[in-house]
Amino acid sequence: MHSKVSVLLAFMLAMVGSQSMAVPTIQHWQLANGAAVYFVPTEGLPLLDVQLVFDAGSARDGEKLGLAALTSVLIDQGAGSLTAQQIAEQLDSVGARMGASSSRDYTSVSFRSLSDQQTLKTAWGVLTKVVNTPSFPAVDFSREKQRTLLSIKQREESPGTLAQLALYQQMYGSHPYANPIQGQYDSVEKLSVDELKAFYKKYYVGSNLTVVLVGGISRQQAELLVDQAVGRLAPGEKATPIAAVDTPLNGAVIQQSYPSQQTHVLYGMPVLKHNDEDYFALYVGNHILGGSGFSSRIVKEIREERGLAYSAYSYFSPMLQKGPFMMGLQTKNESLDEAVKATKQVLTQFVDKGPSEEELIAAKKNISGGFALKLDSNKKLLANVVGIVVSGAPLDYLNTYVQKVNALTAKQIQQAFQRRVSIKNMTLVTVGENKDANN
């Protein structure tokens, strides 16, 4: 699951900027408590999409693994005098949707509602209470903790999830990114409600918050809504930067035995922070390598030529600190060796020789010709703007994107890959009925 979120982020950072289409202007202002606000008014549909992004991801867990995630789960399970049931009823009574979730870097509260006054009055009122006065009731705490523990148990029945967890653990070693977002069974079992309250108090603060709004409201409305929902949050302190990631010199090979018909194969290494100067070269290169479905090399080799897997891919996932470059596939146990060799070969050759001119032209055509698709709904617009602002990219990022993509040469892509990616540095994880597991 986590990988999907990362893919989305990497993807959204990538999808941008054409000269042929009006790119929305992102309005920006700041609240007295430090919260940064970004707003894109849209027309055509009476709806409002909002995301509150707190610098409060699982990398902030410290020893208490799972703390950030469980805090976000509890955020709408009681607020002020409202019970979990009342919160849900009020939102449902106007068809609004709200949810909170954590990644390694962030905790996000997302909100979608119709944008008429009457609806917003109810729905936004609930959001305001949830953000400002979550009450962490004991009964809800113990229930949600139990549910998280079951969900942690359930990871063990998914070879794909096991592979992800093992890969992050190996790639990041003692860095907080190594840990599962939901935490470990033992660590979650020990969490107390006071720890959640303290985490909320420390991290759900103005100076740690970015608000993005996209929808059919006016600037004046947007300002009022934001003031109401987060204007009274304490300024607090900006979270200290997450520690830098050391890139391991050599990758490891981890083979987990699991009674499944397929073996899940993952390669990974930490590579990219947000706004890295190699980003464009690596993004476009990866588009060709394994990021664009049927036209990419990994899919051609693994699926179209050899029929080894249904899903095969590669992606960069930029994070606050070095996020991973990953390659993945699942294949029947008997084909494991062939699939691993072929994947390795594709990457090695790509890093060695870079893309062909023909491939580069095709990638540029696809990215620039498809630009309009990236911004064709409120939902996608919101995702894009969140991606831009949390990564600290300039607000005109969308305007210059295609230009930057089109300016790239095959040589630059090759060099960027040679600087940043090497099969020797990648950890390989396999989870499946692997006959060689005891080697």
């Binding site: 893919v7 289409m21 549909l45 049931q85 919160i87 849900a88 009823e89 449902d92 068809g95 119709l114 809800d140 229930r143 139990q146 549910r147 523990l149 079951l150 969900s151 359930q154 029945e157 998914s158 093992a166 050599n250 490891a252 090979v253 981890i254 083979q255 987990q256 035995s257 699991y258 499944s260 018909q261 397929q262 479905g293 049927f294 036209s295 899919v299 179209e304 030529e305 029929g307 080894l308 897997a309 249904y310 899903s311 891919y313 699942q330 029947k332 095709a362 055509k365 620039s368 010709g369 498809g370 309009a372 698709l373 911004l375 064709d376 409120n378 939902k379 390989l428 597991a437 005891n438």
Partner: protein
């Protein structure tokens, strides 16, 4: 489904509240034209962004298949990307990519559909290519052998190695007797192994024709222009004559069906389903809309009864949901699924769900609760307008399963008209034990993990 990594079987998704709606506040004009060869074209102009989605829907899917060739519709869907008379294998995708497009396809029980999402001016590229593969598919042994392996890998990923997915497959096979819904959309593994290229060729010959298809275009397009481009590219494709498909009506169920399914897993899992009619099969439409709201009362939004009472109140479930797809072609199932909370059993969870059903039979739902569900349906109708793809999906699906796209416009009013008494009545009439199938998935221990690690 040909998707690379996202795993969504559209019709197979159990738990979404299907909300096909037309909010009054927005124009909802659909333009229809039928070509001489029978191809139906539906166009909805939506000018919010300079993009469009084009979908071609065929009236064929897993429920058209018979024993021994299950999965053939889906394998054929895969092969539709593997070359035609004028296109090399993979060239279709290459052309779409070069035009900045995104494309894919999906197979359900009642349909097979192909789509491209592109900048609006590229519409003709999409129509030209779809017309090509509607008439000139070139099925080649070499591509087939490889693609069949891909489909088997897809099956392993979705079913063999997913305890809940595998359980659902056995559940369906037990719940249905004579209905083709008993077979998995992706096909049984043995049928995949036995499949021949000739099976695909026959299937393609039989079902891929303009008079068995619907073209749906939604986006920044002009309807008359879509019609003329469609005429240009599809107009000359000959219609074929069809023998009517056999009805294969499900025989009456004469008592509760129960089974235990053992899986290598950590958590137990409960599946329950009652035989129910759908829009396409009923002569009492109000019943179908009442069932739709009944599923909302149980499971739509966090305030709905299963979450409120089973997950939060009694804490007998760690999750529980109800689902009903009123847009199936044939009689279907009103489904429940759930995972017991820690320390609670499948029996306890089943009992709690039955007790919620009994409640609905005895006591009419409160107006406020009913209004809450209707408010969600109304809002969801607006949210869906945010996506051209889903607008097209609604039209294409309704048309393809036989309900007709015009039904979309009625949905909201019909749902709004449902009363508490009607909900109580359908609970009493349809959610009865004799028509119930229950499966308890019992987890079996996973062999303790052995792990080896070494330097690369």
């Amino acid at each position: 489904m040909r998707k690379l990594s996202v795993t969504v079987f559209l019709l197979n998704s159990l738990y979404s509240l299907t909300a096909f709606a037309s909010p009054e506040l927005m124009s909802n004009m659909v333009h229809e034209k039928v070509l001489k060869n029978g191809l139906k074209i539906l166009v909805k102009e939506d000018r919010r962004a300079p993009v469009m989605v084009s979908q071609v829907w065929y009236k064929v899917g897993a429920s058209y298949e018979y024993d021994g060739i299950t999965g053939v519709s889906h394998v054929l869907e895969h092969m539709m990307f593997q070359g035609t008379k004028n296109l090399e294998p993979g060239e279709f995708s290459k052309i779409i990519a070069a035009n900045g497009g995104q494309e894919n396809a999906f197979t359900g029980a009642d349909y097979t559909a192909y789509f491209q999402t592109m900048e609006a001016s590229r519409l003709e590229v999409s129509l030209r290519l779809e017309a090509e593969r509607m008439q000139h598919l070139n099925l080649q042994q070499k591509e087939y052998e490889k693609e069949l392996q891909v489909v088997m890998e897809e099956r392993r990923l979705r079913t063999e190695d997913k305890p809940q997915g595998q359980t659902y497959e056995y559940f369906k096979a037990m719940a249905y007797t004579s209905s083709p819904y008993r077979n998995p959309i992706i096909g049984w593994m043995q049928d995949l192994k036995d499949m021949q290229l000739a099976d695909l060729a026959q299937w393609y010959q039989r079902w891929y024709a303009p008079n068995n298809a619907t073209l749906v275009v939604v986006g920044d397009v002009d309807a008359t222009q879509v019609f003329s481009l469609a005429e240009k590219h599809f107009g000359a494709i000959p219609a074929v004559s069809f023998t009517p498909i056999k009805q294969r009506v499900e025989v009456p169920q004469l008592g509760v069906r129960r089974s235990i399914i053992k899986q290598t897993a950590r958590l137990p899992y409960l599946l329950m389903g009652y035989k129910v009619p759908v829009l396409n099969t009923t002569d009492k439409e109000t019943d179908v809309y009442a069932l739709e709201l009944l599923s909302g009362i149980l499971s739509s939004g966090n305030s709905a009864r299963l979450d409120s009472r089973l997950v939060r109140g009694q804490q007998v479930a760690t999750n529980a949901s109800a689902g009903y797809d009123l847009n199936a072609r044939l009689d279907s199932l009103f489904l429940f699924d759930g995972v017991p909370a820690d320390g609670r059993s499948l029996q306890e969870l089943e009992k709690a769900i039955i007790s919620e059903i009994d409640n609905l039979k005895k006591t009419p739902v409160q107006q406020q609760e009913l209004d809450r569900i209707k408010a969600q349906v109304i809002a969801a109708a607006v949210y869906q307008k945010d996506s051209n793809f889903y607008q097209a999906l609604q039209l294409g699906m309704l048309e393809t399963v036989g309900i007709g796209w015009r039904k979309e416009a009625e949905y909201l009013d019909k749902v709004k008209a449902v009363t508490a008494e009607q909900i109580q009545a359908v609970a009493n009439n349809y959610l009865i034990e004799d028509h119930l199938t229950v499966v308890h998935m019992q987890p079996q221990p996973i062999d303790s993990k052995r792990e080896a690690r070494h330097a690369q």
